[in-house]
């Protein structure tokens, strides 16, 4: 039996702007098993970032069900969502989103400081481990501005890992990197997957999508097969 970490049924997301309704997601069904590495791809505006935001509890769905660790999370309060995000989810953003005024160490420690009751010693230990894992322990006292893009993204990965989350959500993690650094980050994610991490990555680059075990294709807010996606894309181009 599959150990479902994420189970989504008939998920919809509608944006209302003045009198215009935009259906960003329509009837999404998606399951991600624990330990799985999933890539979500599709053309711009297909809804993959919106879906990732909902998966990461940064946004709420308009309809449908969302079970995380077998618990419904679609209608939680702001505070509850914050707590779950902090404990269950690790984010890796395209633009790194490190805080410029904090050192590398402090950036990685940040999500741990939001956990009530975690002793300082435990935090320091976890930060050190996470940074060692991404090979950035030697840059602990540096500020983000003193690092290259690739190094910043590795720190962001360490920050996502430090809290030992159930899943890593990566939104175009190579989008702001050159190909060499992009490859390095992809290898890092692959290593993490091998070590047991569950990863869900949004990317529009087929080269990087290949690193994942499974690829989910989105088009106009719906999950489609690879063939359907090719056909729909061709229709649009025609």
């Amino acid at each position: 039996m599959i150990d479902k970490l994420i189970d989504i049924e008939d998920l919809t997301k509608v944006f209302y702007t003045d009198e215009v309704e935009t259906h960003a997601l329509s009837g999404i069904h998606l399951t991600i098993a624990r330990g799985e590495y999933v890539a979500m791809s599709g053309p711009s505006g297909c809804g993959k970032s919106t879906l990732l935001s909902i998966l990461g509890l940064l946004d709420t769905p308009t309809g449908g069900k969302y079970l995380l660790n077998n618990k419904p999370v679609e209608n939680l309060s702001f505070g509850e969502r914050s707590r779950i995000r902090n404990q269950e989810i690790g984010f890796i953003f395209q633009s790194f989103n490190l805080i410029g005024d904090l050192t590398v160490e402090e950036n990685v420690e940040l999500p741990l400081t939001y956990r009530a009751g975690m002793p300082s010693g435990e935090r320091k230990k976890r930060v050190k481990e996470a940074l060692e894992r991404v090979n950035m322990a030697h840059r602990m006292r540096h500020y983000p501005a003193q690092l290259s893009g690739g190094q910043q993204q590795r720190v962001a990965v360490a920050r996502a890992l430090a809290g030992s989350p159930s899943i890593l959500l990566a939104d175009e993690p190579t989008g702001n990197l050159d190909s060499k650094n992009g490859e390095a980050v992809m290898h890092l994610l692959a290593d993490l997957h091998r070590e047991g991490s569950t990863i869900c990555m949004v990317t529009h680059d087929p080269r990087f999508a290949k690193h994942a075990q499974r690829e989910v294709h989105l088009f106009d807010g719906k999950v489609v097969s690879e063939d359907e996606l090719r056909k729909l894309t061709e229709e649009v181009e025609v």
């Binding site: 953003f93 633009s95 939001y114």
Partner: protein, 828 residues
């Protein structure tokens, strides 16, 4: 706690990275909190702090109110006879004493000087509950037997006696009579609690009422009774208790005063001490409150801008699981760091301001010695700092916590539209700032206008080239009328012979200097309307060529002459107001008045001259009936009420008109007096212009201080409008670039930004004008011949604020118009 420490470290780091912001915020708050703390220390010292006597809430003044007589302006007074009657016949007081302020020539130790002192009966010290620092206070027996003993102040002991350990038993000469020093009061002892610092009593002596004061002084309300209410007795009960005593006093009044109706009045001592200072102190507190509000609103605006700039960072924190409470806490910690730094700096500024400024406080303010930075003031400043930090930081903190994570992260660092939602909030803060600044500017405008009006008031006499000074002949040396007359004759004669002197005179009351001497009088042939009170006039006794020296014009009749001797028919000079009020349409010359009430057996005095009206006590007090008698005829004018041993001409204010500037005449005046009596001290040797300026000092102080706060408020509000317009222009850089790329002229961009500034200015001024209509009513008691709703002042203040707001928008407008469209679009 650990997290709080992290927040604190982070806040300090953030502020270190934005030194300009941190400095601006801390200085703004330091100014606001410092000014508020300094004024609060005045409020606390003058109004709030209990009087420096044990259980001071039970101390009260017992005095009279006379039907038909305006006796406002001081504690309710009593006569000498009533001092005894009230003490004997009232039961509401555990102890009741009385005092009378006086002055003496002090000699025998250091330079001779005229000093303030108080005659007090032995009941006063038990009432106040204060023991001497050294020695003892005087006893009932010493009071009754007129013993020449005195208790001196700590300051006199330190200053004149150099803290001599053997002070007790030493002698001091008061009016050249020896008095034994029997005690020294503690350093903080001050009684009576008179306004200002100049009139404080330096020593206290037994009251030792004379028979003359008790019998002939039946119509002289010159004493003040102070009592300690018995536990549980209310003011109303004390008044009720004093009624029978007042009835008895009225029954025992001389027949000449039989028509007087006396009502006992009991006023808490605290109220009597501070009531006159309350409007000014309240106004000042309100003014600094406005400044602090504007400073706080500015800080809130700046913090809001920071939140908007840090939107992305906050959204990352939220994405990583920070709760809303964590974000609010972190934001508040930063705001509290700023406000407490501002508070500590403000406290230092307040301490400095008080150290330097207490000597500039007006003499109308009581208990200035109590003004200090004690623990209550420090607690107030720190509490204010924390409260300001919380209030200013709350809106930005809540705004930060409500950051839309998804949207902020999606923006990917773009700032073009960020913060647009908070624009209304920032605008609202600035509108409120402008509105309250307008209220304060209007208040300051009204006070300035009042001050100007007061300066242009015709005082009725010439203040230029006029020197004045006071003297008081000691009774020991000048124990006979002959001796006093000889001194005065020599004084006038010698002064008149000085080069450049045009005229010399002496008066018992120097005009427009705050000296007041109101007396009841009866004008011949005048029938008072039913229900009218007594005829009261400001009376003055003069000698020499006083009217000419003072420059008071003679309108009808003649001046006093040497032929008007002490034993000649009694003569009087009246002012135009008296003549027109009591003898309208008639020639006052030849009419008669007498002192007292209709039943008084005082002799008639014939009016020989009518002079112009003068401002008797100050420029702002309406001119009342005035009459002038010759000093040498004063005893005769009192008729049977004059004590047999009364000596006239024992002091007053000398006025010397000369062609030379008065400052150059001062030494000649001193030398002349020294040549007649080497020991006699002269006090307040100053030009009449200085006397007038001192009389206006209180109003000048109010005006300057409130105007300074008004200017500060306007400056801060203008800074507020600048920061909002500048920030909003920066936020709209992308929009401006698009407009220009589409063909907009730079002038149109300038106009666009200026219009936003003008809109804020208009709304702030509109709101402020409405607020000013209500708020300036509080100023009514401080205004002079100016309506609190003076439209000119309100319009000028509103225009000033509006134009300054527009000027503040010019720089951001010019900056917005100078952007290069392609560069801005590429950056975006």
């Amino acid at each position: 706690m650990k997290n709080l420490w992290l927040d604190l470290r982070y806040a300090l780091r953030q502020l270190r990275k934005s030194p300009a912001f941190a400095l601006a915020a801390v200085l703004t708050l330091a100014f606001g909190i410092g000014a508020t703390t300094a004024i609060f220390s005045i409020v606390e010292g003058v109004l709030l702090r209990p009087l420096p006597f044990p259980d001071s809430g039970r101390l009260a003044i017992l005095g009279d109110s006379l039907e038909g007589v305006d006796m406002s302006g001081g504690p309710p007074p009593t006569t000498a006879a009533e001092v005894r009657a009230y003490a004997r016949d009232t039961h509401a007081f555990a102890a009741l004493g009385a005092y009378r302020q006086t002055s003496f020539e002090l000699s025998g130790v250091g330079d001779p000087a005229q000093i303030n002192a108080s005659r007090m009966n032995s009941g006063i010290f038990p009432v106040l509950g204060v023991s001497p620092l050294m020695g003892r206070t005087f006893s009932q027996q010493e009071d009754d037997s007129s013993q020449q003993v005195t208790v001196i102040s700590y300051q006199m002991w330190r200053g004149r006696f150099h803290s001599a350990a053997n002070i007790l038993g030493q002698k001091v000469l008061l009016d050249r009579k020896p008095y034994d020093i029997i005690g020294v009061m503690p350093r903080d002892f001050e009684f009576p609690l008179v306004p200002g610092q100049l009139n404080r009593s330096e020593l206290w002596m037994p009251m030792s009422l004379t028979q003359g004061e008790i019998v002939q002084g039946a119509g002289s309300w010159n004493f003040t009774s102070v009592g300690r209410l018995k536990p549980g007795i209310t003011i109303a009960q004390a008044i009720e208790d004093a009624q029978p005593a007042a009835q008895e006093i009225m029954r025992n009044l001389p027949p000449a005063m039989g028509s007087l109706r006396i009502h006992p009045v009991v006023v808490p001592l605290t109220e009597s001490t501070v009531s006159q200072a309350r409007p000014l102190v309240r106004m000042l507190f309100l003014a600094v409150g406005v400044v602090l509000f504007i400073a706080g609103a500015n800080l809130a605006g700046l913090l809001l801008v920071r939140v908007i700039r840090r939107r992305r960072e906050i959204s990352v924190r939220l994405a990583l699981g920070a709760s809303a409470a964590t974000i609010v806490r972190q934001s508040l910690v930063e705001s509290l760091v700023l406000s407490t730094s501002g508070g500590l700096l403000g406290l230092a500024l307040a301490a400095f301001a008080l150290r330097v400024g207490v000597s500039f406080l007006p003499e109308t303010l009581p208990r200035v010695g109590s003004i200090s930075l004690d623990w209550k003031v420090v607690a107030f400043a720190l509490g204010l700092a924390v409260l300001t930090g919380l209030l200013c930081g709350l809106i930005p903190a809540l705004t930060a916590a409500r950051t839309s994570v998804n949207e902020a992260l999606k923006e990917g660092g773009r700032t073009g539209t960020a913060g647009g939602g908070h624009a209304h909030l920032r605008s609202a803060l600035v509108i409120a700032e402008l509105a309250v600044a307008l209220v304060l500017l209007t208040a300051s405008g009204l006070l300035l206008r009042s001050f100007n009006k007061m300066r242009t008031v015709d005082l009725g006499f010439r203040t230029d080239h006029l020197l004045s000074s006071s003297y008081s002949l000691p009774s020991q040396q000048y124990s006979s009328q002959t001796a006093a007359d000889a001194f005065n004759a020599a004084l006038l004669n010698k002064l008149q012979q000085l080069p450049g002197v045009e005229a010399v005179g002496v008066t018992s009351n120097l005009p427009a200097s705050g000296q007041s001497n109101n007396n009841a009088f009866v004008p011949e042939g005048y029938v008072a309307p039913k229900g009218a009170g007594l005829s009261i006039g400001w009376s003055s006794r003069v000698t020499g060529n006083y009217f000419r020296a003072a420059g008071i014009p003679l309108l009808k009749g003649r001046d006093f002459t040497l032929s008007d001797r002490a034993d000649s028919p009694l003569v009087v000079v009246v002012n135009r107001t008296l003549a027109e009020h009591y003898w309208p349409g008639q020639d006052p010359i030849g009419k008669r008045i007498h002192i007292g009430v209709a039943e008084s057996a005082t002799p008639w005095m014939t009016v020989i001259g009518e002079i112009g009206d003068i401002k008797q006590t100050s420029a702002e007090v309406a001119t009342q009936s005035q009459f002038y008698t010759l000093d040498r005829q004063f005893k005769a004018s009192l008729g049977p009420f004059a004590p047999p041993d009364m000596i006239t001409g024992t002091g007053g204010s000398i006025v010397v008109r000369s062609q030379l500037p008065p400052e150059q005449m001062a030494d000649a005046l001193r030398a002349t007096v020294r040549s007649i009596d080497p020991q006699l001290p002269l006090t307040q040797v100053e030009s009449m212009d200085q006397v007038i300026a001192e009389g206006q000092a209180s109003r000048r102080f109010n005006t300057v201080l409130i105007s300074a706060f008004g200017a500060a408020a306007v400056m801060l509000a203008v800074m507020g409008i600048y920061s909002v317009i500048a920030f909003s222009a920066t936020m709209r850089t992308h929009e401006m670039a698009i407009r220009m790329a589409l063909g907009s002229q730079r002038l149109s961009v300038v106009k666009l930004v200026l219009v936003s500034g003008a809109k804020l200015g208009l709304m702030g001024c509109g709101l402020g004008a409405i607020a000013a209509i209500f708020a300036t009513r509080l100023l009514r008691s401080l205004l002079f011949q100016v309506d609190p709703l003076d439209p000119t002042v309100i319009v000028v203040a509103a225009l000033t604020i509006f134009l300054l707001g527009l000027v503040a928008s010019v720089i951001p407008a010019a900056r917005a118009a100078s952007i290069e469209p392609m560069q801005a679009l590429r950056t975006e």
